[in-house]
Structures are given as C-alpha cells and as structure tokens.
Amino acid sequence: MDKDRKRILLVAAHNAFRESLASRLSQEEDLEVAWQAGSVADTRDIHLDGIDVAVIDPLLPDGDGMVLIREVSVANPNALALVFSPRLDQAVYNQALGAGAVDVLPTDTPVEDFIDAIRRTGDSG
C-alpha cells in the first residue's frame, strides 16, 4: 500500500454513476478508491479500517447515508467524510456538518473541483 495515496470509500446508490466516479478518481496518482458501496447495509459490511476519506451521497435505498458519517468516524477516527448530493439545502448542510463531515458539495460541481475537494478533505485531518 502506498502511504502517500489517499484511500477512499465511495458510497452512492447509482451503480453506473458510482463506478464511473471510482474510475475517474483512480486515474489520479494520489487517490485510490479502495471500497465502494451502494447502500447503508453494504457499507456496514465493509471493514472500515484504513479509510482516509469517505465520500458519501446520502440518498441511499435503505436509509439516510448521513448515519454513515458517524459510523465511519467511530470505526476509524482518522477517516474524514465528504458529503455530496444533488439535493442540498441548508438543512442537509447542517446535518452533514453536524454529523462530522468536513465538506459538503453539490453534484453539479465540475469533476476536477470535486477531486480537489477530496484532496482538501484528506489533508484537513
């Protein structure tokens, strides 16, 4: 394992979107999508040790992905969370930041800016 690479957990319900994003992130030399999940249950099946950044779209089929922010940080206090979603309002921002997310981004963000936000999130710990 390259210690300089940030290891990412990517959680989003839409398979093609999530897998595309994982593919794009893995083109970056300093980033590695080490885990993917499409639901709260799938995420809970993952051994969360070793995650640097958890990227979470909270709109999941079996529950609100916001609960995962706390669960990830409890399982791994070094992990940092970034929430991204097409449906963001002030309440969602407050909920995400209140749960411990470092940053919150809408999904209309250019993908290059999104990648920079992941780096910033990983560096903020």
Partner: protein, 135 residues
C-alpha cells in the same frame, strides 16, 4: 460489475464512433466522470459531454451526429431517437433505465458501468456493419 470493462479486440476499427453524453446540470460531476470512464475504457471513441436544455441536446445531436446518445429522460423524438443507439439513463437509481440498440429495446434497473460499455460495444458493431454495407 456486469458487462465488459475492457474493449474487445474485434471492436477496434479505423472509423471513430461518437458518443454524446447529456445529463442535467445537477449531475455534472457524475456526467464528467462517466465521460472520462468511457474514454478510459474505450479510447477509440469520441465522447462529448454536455449539460443543458433539450434544445441544446438537439443542436449537439445535429452537429456531432453521434451513433450513441446517453441522456437523462425525457428524450426528444427527433433527431435524438434516430441514432443507432440510445440510453435513457435515469439519474434516480430506483427508476429503470431504457436501452435501445438498433431495433432492440430493454430496460435495466440501476445499470452498471459495464452494462453501459456493453452497449457502446454493441453500437460500434452496428456502426461498423452499416459502414461496410455502404462500402
């Protein structure tokens, strides 16, 4: 992941197939990532990604003349539905995505990137066959 990720040898040819990807602006991150993924796994394609109105989609379709369009519903009938293949990709994973390649239609719930790439490959096969028929 279902479907083939890597391009089959027989799928490669000299003619460059064109793919137009058009999703609503609120899914820009995902759209740009999908365009990058198709370029990575199918480097012999020209992939153009736009976000905008239905009029923008129609105008880009006329300009680019893509063989495959991947767009979020609703889809205008002309000229978009005249292309070789069409994926009406629902941004909502709970809603089915509609596929059409030539005369074949089907639906898939929450398709994978591999399923999208399989349609790219199948469309390329049709594209090559149509070019060969025209000589």
């Amino acid at each position: 992941m279902n479907g083939r990720l890597h391009e089959p040898e027989e799928g490669r040819g000299t003619a460059k197939m064109k793919v137009l990807l058009a999703l609503e602006g609120e899914y820009r991150t995902y759209m740009e990532a999908m365009a990058a993924a198709i370029r990575e796994f199918r480097p012999h394609m020209e992939v153009v990604a736009i976000s905008g109105s239905l009029e923008d989609l129609e105008a880009e379709t006329k300009r680019l003349e893509p063989q495959l369009i991947i767009c979020s519903p609703p889809v205008p009938e002309n000229p978009v539905d005249e292309r070789l293949a069409l994926i009406e990709l629902s941004p909502d994973s709970a809603q089915s995505t509609n596929f059409r390649v030539g005369e074949r239609h089907w639906q898939s719930a929450n398709p994978t990137l591999g399923e999208i790439l399989s349609v790219v490959d199948e469309t390329k096969g049709l594209f090559r066959a149509s070019r060969e028929q025209r000589g």
